[in-house]
């Protein structure tokens, strides 16, 4: 274990602990949703919480921890935060559209009545 962690004041280690526990629980719940939910269009919502809140909590914990440990401002985790928050929506949209196109193509190929996994284009109200 590293040096200097014993000298951290309580007001630093308390929020770091809370953020770490919250973040790791959220990460675990997201992965659980990925396994537990029955079809693809529901499963895509599971990792979204991992990416937003889980990553956010652990990155903030890391920032507070290193700032206190090195007693200078360590905020280069902001780069990862910015990158993840910019790219995660793009990835989610691409995977969603992939699924939609593949299901539409499969439905066209089979001429089957749609199962619950295909994309019913919402009708106009």
């Amino acid at each position: 274990m590293n040096q200097g962690i014993e000298t951290l004041p309580v007001w630093v280690s308390l929020p770091v602990t809370a953020l770490l526990v919250l973040g790791s629980l959220i990460v675990l719940i997201g992965a659980l949703g990925l396994v537990r939910l029955p079809n693809f269009y529901q499963r895509i919502h599971g990792p979204a919480i991992t990416i937003t809140l889980g990553t956010g909590c652990i990155l903030i914990a890391s920032m507070i921890y290193f700032t206190a440990l090195q007693s200078r401002l360590v905020i280069h985790e902001l780069l990862i935060t910015a990158f993840v928050f910019l790219t995660a929506p793009v990835v989610a949209m691409l995977i969603m559209r992939t699924a939609v196109y593949r299901d539409l193509r499969a439905a066209k190929r089979d001429r089957e009545p749609e199962s619950d996994e295909t994309y019913p284009c919402p009708r106009k109200k």
């Binding site: 790791s24 396994v35 991992t50 990835v91 992939t98």
Partner: protein, 92 residues
């Protein structure tokens, strides 16, 4: 107080590894290809968080670079896989 922090760090490592195992289950089982791509993307994210948690545990800033590289390559590979599934299928 410090033991609580140590416990929290170990708990984070444990949870991240468990989450990676769950993603692995979906990656191996997933009925459609898009399930596997989604699971792979989540696996990249969890690997990045694992690198960050290891950095906190050992108090070293080196792991930050690893985490950033994992995030970058994860994004690129997921986008490439999703694009391939969308357009580049052999049997259409």
């Amino acid at each position: 107080m410090m033991t609580l922090l140590f416990l929290a760090i170990d708990f984070t490592l444990l949870c991240t590894v468990l989450a990676m195992l769950l993603c692995m289950v979906r990656l191996l089982r997933g009925p459609a290809a898009q399930d596997r791509v989604l699971a792979l993307d989540t696996l990249w994210m969890c690997a990045m968080l694992l690198a960050l948690a290891l950095g906190i545990r050992f108090g070293s800033l080196i792991y930050f670079e690893a985490a950033m590289l994992i995030a970058l390559t994860g994004f690129v590979s997921t986008v490439a896989l999703a694009k391939f599934l969308m357009r580049g299928e052999v049997i259409e």
